[in-house]
């Protein structure tokens, strides 16, 4: 089986990885790069456990050919913590709200939720917006309530922080 040498950025680091053309990004992340935070669930688009961000947009790594990630920036749950210098506020909130039970869905949900909060850019998301943003990520354990509460909690904190820094700017002027 011939392999291709694929160059991409994974969690901020430039990597080169050899893989056959018919391998998915999920297979490359888990089995070549040992980034096993990204989960392999249904492997066909139904569950969202394999969600990663490609150039900041949540996508399913089980339905992305690894060659489609060439030259692009991939973020996995491992990178989310790194990005925030240890523990991302969403991860902290999931801990405080008990939003992870078995945890299998959590990495995918965190990446969908992070993209939503980034798009909100300091505006507090509504409960409906959170539900809609997570509508491709199945959880078989929690019943979603705590997950949604945790995301809303971070959304609220970010809105407060944004308002405070806007206030400071206005004050300085």
């Amino acid at each position: 089986m011939s392999h291709l040498l694929l160059s991409m950025t994974v969690n901020g680091e430039a990597v080169q990885v050899a893989a056959p053309a018919h391998h998915t990004l999920l297979e490359v992340l888990r089995y070549k790069l040992d980034l096993i935070g990204t989960k392999q669930g249904c492997d066909k688009g139904d569950c969202g456990a394999c969600t990663v961000q490609i150039d900041g947009v949540p996508q399913l790594s089980c339905l992305t050919l690894a060659v489609h990630a060439v030259g692009r920036a991939v973020t996995t749950v491992e990178g989310l913590g790194q990005q925030a210098g240890g523990c991302h506020p969403l991860q902290d909130a999931f801990d405080r709200w008990n939003a992870a039970q078995c945890g299998f869905c959590t990495p995918g949900i965190l990446l969908s939720a992070e993209a939503l909060l980034r798009r909100c850019a300091g505006r507090e998301p509504t409960r409906l917006q959170v539900c809609e943003a997570l509508a491709g990520n199945l959880c078989r354990c929690t019943g979603y309530t705590k997950i949604i509460d945790a995301v809303l909690d971070v959304g609220r904190q970010m809105a407060v922080a944004a308002a405070a820094s806007a206030g400071e700017v206005a004050h300085a002027e």
Partner: protein, 334 residues
Amino acid sequence: MLRLPQFQVESPDTVEGVVAALQRHAGARVIAGGTDILPNLKHFLDTPPVLVSLARVTALRGLQRDDAAGLLRIGAGVTLTQIAEDAQVRALFPSLAHAAGIVASPVIRNMGTLGGNVNLDTRCRYVNQSEFWRGSIGGGCLKSEGNVCHVVPKGRNCVAAMSSDNVPVLISLDANIVLVGPEGRRVLPLADYFHADGVAHTLARPGEVTVELQLPLPAGPRRARYTKWSVRRSIDFPLLSVALRFDLAADSPHAEVLAAKVVVGVLGAKPRVVTRLDEALGKPLSDPAVARIVSEATHAQCKPLDNVPYEAAYRREMLRVYTRRGVEAMVAEG
């Protein structure tokens, strides 16, 4: 774990390059977002030697209003998220923005393209299964490795369902599809692109790719809506889909209906344009008779099959209900 069959990938950066690559490799298939073809390949419904990727073809990603031609042009590579969020699509073609925005799930809409959605393979409960599953019912069917149909046991023709959410809407809006192939470029009404064979349900010629969908800009006041019934509100394919469009004498739900178009999906391999709606013309859209006439005609002319989940007889009843509710919702929205 579902492994893909082995294949090579070519990633040209022009439409001509894609057409040439398809000609070079017999049995090659196009991959855009991959959200339909990759699950099907993981189920070993096909084993193409080469996938020709559209990922680098930037020319397919335009979405622009062309006032000179009186069209909105949507490139085949535009994602469903982009269509659902685009301000012009939302203002001019709300039923399309709505349909694109309820396909599958947000993550899938970030990946899936309009070209892939229009060319979405037909679906059937007996074919969208693993090879093992198909083997356990005796080795597949006409659309996989077998030679019978489990939906129409004596049938010689596959009746798998055209399950795209956007296709009925695009047809209701009189969309044209632009194809480029070895013999050049051609434009045809999207309604004429499909035919009643679930194994090969489009009239794309070998080596032809979809490059653009064109929507004529609305010429006068109208109301349009898409109604979808699925098991859950997210992730699931439609069990029924009805696209409605009414051209009106004035911009009000109480205005007279000048023209009515109803297109239904998830029947057989071909979407169905409902005919004989003349009785609804000339009446105000808000007249309950319009909802009744349209939903009765839809129910009478469309016969769902046992190709997707839920009993066909029940789906047929629901077709009447969803059509009527669709018209009522348009009136309620004003």
